[in-house]
């Protein structure tokens, strides 16, 4: 191994969060973590495991159940020079903290004529599939992307999690890192050293000539499963993972659209008004003349997330729906 090479090991999505935060905290005493049960318990999803043991009460703070004050704590500390990482346990609770997020964190800099910097990272965990019902399963990233001033990342694997988390924590703007519950246990090779994946740069996960699947978060894995099935029929899918939803990498997605001429957009969130609607509009604006079929959107139906597995299994988009969508835009 040369000096420029770093060791790479298999790490889980969860470890990519806790381990990366630990590395960042070792480098910068201005970084602290606050949230519900993030201390000795390590977070209900274990994404903060080990931090309290290493950094103690001063830098890893168990907060009351006070989502507004948790985000406010981060805002006040950030605007006075610290670099907070605050956690909102379930993404559904983002809604409880929405004023602090949308009216405060997102807008202070602009309202103050550029005077403020807001190096605040908010982590949260969304997604359905665990029968956690309507208030513990939502994917609300589109709401956040609609707020000028916020940046939003949605890593689909442990490697991206580490690189995007590094960029978010080092950002001087408020960022939201969306974790997905069903990705927590997934793992992939991840370099031990810190590295940054720049915000706003999509990843072409898989190249292909027949159709582009733009997939968000966990849907990247579902798209890969669908692509493999379709490959057996000679259909070659290109899969683009935006990774950052705000700012959005229009160029990469439009370039792919110009190459394959057929697009399927998929996310787990409710389809109506979802981030896929924005993507569809951008692709239409950037590559209208290249499209051979209407863009096919896949998202959840317009209903709250149901509790019963018998309903939830039909609610969450999956590989089968992606495969059907691809066949539809290809007409075969």
């Amino acid at each position: 191994m040369t000096a420029t090479e770093t060791a790479v090991g298999e790490k889980s999505y969860v470890e990519a969060v806790s381990g990366t935060i630990a590395q960042l905290m070792r480098e910068d005493d201005d970084i602290f973590v606050a949230g519900e049960d993030v201390g000795a318990f390590g977070g209900v999803f274990s994404t903060f495991l080990g931090l309290h043991a290493e950094f103690g009460d001063r830098r890893v703070v168990d907060t009351p159940i006070s989502e507004q004050a948790i985000v406010g704590l981060g805002i006040g500390a950030a605007v006075t020079g610290l670099r907070p990482i605050v956690d909102l346990m379930f993404m559904d609770f983002v809604l409880v903290a929405m004023d602090q997020l949308a009216n405060q964190a997102a807008k202070l800099k602009y309202m103050f004529g550029g005077e403020a910097t807001m190096p605040l990272t908010i982590t949260t965990t969304g997604g359905a599939g665990l029968s956690a019902a309507a208030q513990h399963s939502q994917s609300l990233e589109a709401i956040l992307c609609h707020i000028p001033g916020l940046k939003v990342v949605f890593p689909s694997n442990a490697y991206d999690m580490k690189g995007l988390l590094v960029s978010c924590v080092r950002e001087d703007n408020p960022t939201v890192v969306v974790k997905n519950k069903l990705l927590l246990g997934t793992s992939c090779p991840v370099p031990d050293d810190l590295y940054a994946i720049p915000l706003g740069v999509a990843d072409v996960v898989k190249e292909g000539r027949d159709v582009t699947i733009v997939a968000v978060g966990r849907m990247v894995n579902e798209a890969l499963v669908a692509a493999e099935k379709l490959a057996a029929d000679g259909i070659e899918c290109e899969i683009v993972d935006p990774r950052t939803l705000q700012p959005f990498d229009t160029d990469t997605v439009v370039a792919s659209a110009k190459k394959t001429n057929r697009i399927v957009v998929v996310h787990e969130a409710v389809q109506f008004g979802g981030i896929g609607a924005e993507m569809t509009a951008q692709i239409t604006e950037g590559a209208f003349d290249y499209l051979d079929a209407p863009i096919h959107r896949i998202g959840a139906p317009f209903a709250p997330v149901p509790f019963s597995p018998a309903l939830e299994q039909h609610y969450v988009p999956n590989a089968a729906k992606i495969e059907a969508g691809v066949r539809q835009v290809l007409g075969r």
């Binding site: 049960d37 168990d62 609770f93 029968s131 139906p301 149901p306 509790f307 019963s308 018998a310 309903l311």
Partner: protein, 329 residues
């Protein structure tokens, strides 16, 4: 101390036994992987729901929490529909759409368990407002945990209820923890009820392991509310025997075994049974008969739930809105 009739004692006992058995039954089913989703068990805290709901009429309303089965059982919930809901069946209280965390029965005035901590309290304020507005004599009672008193919704609700002088009771179940974090880490006061004074309502501390004590405090608070004398806050000191959710501890030790055992020694049901035996109100045989009756009720409910169909996929899209006659869509 008020004069508690034998019937009230028997009523409190039955309500608690129903809660205990339902929850133990649910815990077992969860361990057999028969219940999807989260399960927040109420075991240990039975005296609070039983004492509070025994002080209410069937028409009075309650709002509940993520730990809501006990509240619904105490309000008279039907085991069959509850168990079916926990199993995600179409015959459940919420047709399988809500599950454990959203279980509700509007006909019993149970305005829903709640997945958002603290979110039930403002809703109870609204129910209390409507009661006064209609002058119907009903009272609303909000159940919430110690941890919930750290969230803005609780404070806004408490203040508004007092400012508007509404017929409401705030019933805090202080079990010493919010999830895995002890209360001491998240508030600088020992007695949650200290907060009541800041809003201008009386605050009462009761032993939450004693259904009679909870009942007495609740009767007084409900009477105040019904008489138009405004809100009261009651803090019941209690304890949950099982984990925050599910049955087993989750690897990380956040409570000592000694602490758990010490609370179990003050078990609300055996405590009341001993007292009733002493008073000659209930013999050991009588008590056994109640347990057996409830066990049969539970067995029937589990069977009903297991025999019930799952909702059809089409149900996914119904109930999002109330369908308006004549509307375009």
């Amino acid at each position: 101390m008020m004069d508690i009739s034998d019937d009230v004692l028997r009523d409190l006992h039955r309500r608690m036994v129903r809660i205990r058995q339902f929850e133990e039954g649910a815990g077992k089913l969860a361990e057999q992987a028969k219940l999807p989703g989260f399960l927040h068990l109420y075991v240990g805290e039975e005296a609070v729901a039983a004492g509070a709901c025994a002080a209410l009429t069937d028409e009075d309303q309650i709002t509940s929490t993520h730990r809501g089965h006990g509240h619904l059982v105490a309000k008279g919930g039907d085991f069959r529909r509850m168990m079916a809901e926990l199993m995600g069946r179409a015959t459940g209280y919420c047709k399988g759409k809500g599950g454990s965390m959203h279980i509700s029965d509007l006909s019993l005035g149970m305005l829903g368990a709640n997945g958002i901590v603290g979110a039930g309290t403002p809703i109870a304020v609204g129910a209390a407002f409507a009661n006064r507005y209609r002058d119907n004599g009903k009272v609303a009672l909000a159940f919430f945990g110690d941890g919930a008193t750290n969230i803005g919704a609780f404070h806004e609700a408490a203040n508004m209820a007092c400012a508007l002088h509404l017929p409401i009771v705030f019933m805090c179940e202080n079990n010493g923890y919010g999830e895995f974090t002890p209360r001491e880490k998240t508030m600088a006061i020992t007695d949650v009820v200290d907060r009541a004074a800041g809003y201008g309502m009386p605050g009462v501390i009761v032993d939450g392991m004693d259904a009679v004590a909870v009942y007495e405090a609740a009767v007084e608070a409900v009477a105040r509310a019904r008489a138009g004398d405004g809100p009261t806050m009651i803090e019941a000191k209690t304890y949950r025997y099982y984990n925050h959710h599910g049955v087993q501890n989750m690897g990380v030790q956040y409570r000592t075994d000694d602490e758990i055992e010490a609370w179990k020694k003050r078990d609300p049901i055996s405590g009341l049974e001993a007292r009733m035996a002493e008073l000659g109100v209930m013999s050991a045989d009588d008590a056994t008969a109640v347990w057996a009756e409830v066990e049969a009720e539970l067995g029937d409910a589990v069977q009903f739930a297991e025999d019930s169909p799952f909702p059809e996929p089409e149900a996914l899209l119904s109930d999002v809105y109330t369908v308006m006659e004549g509307a375009a869509r």
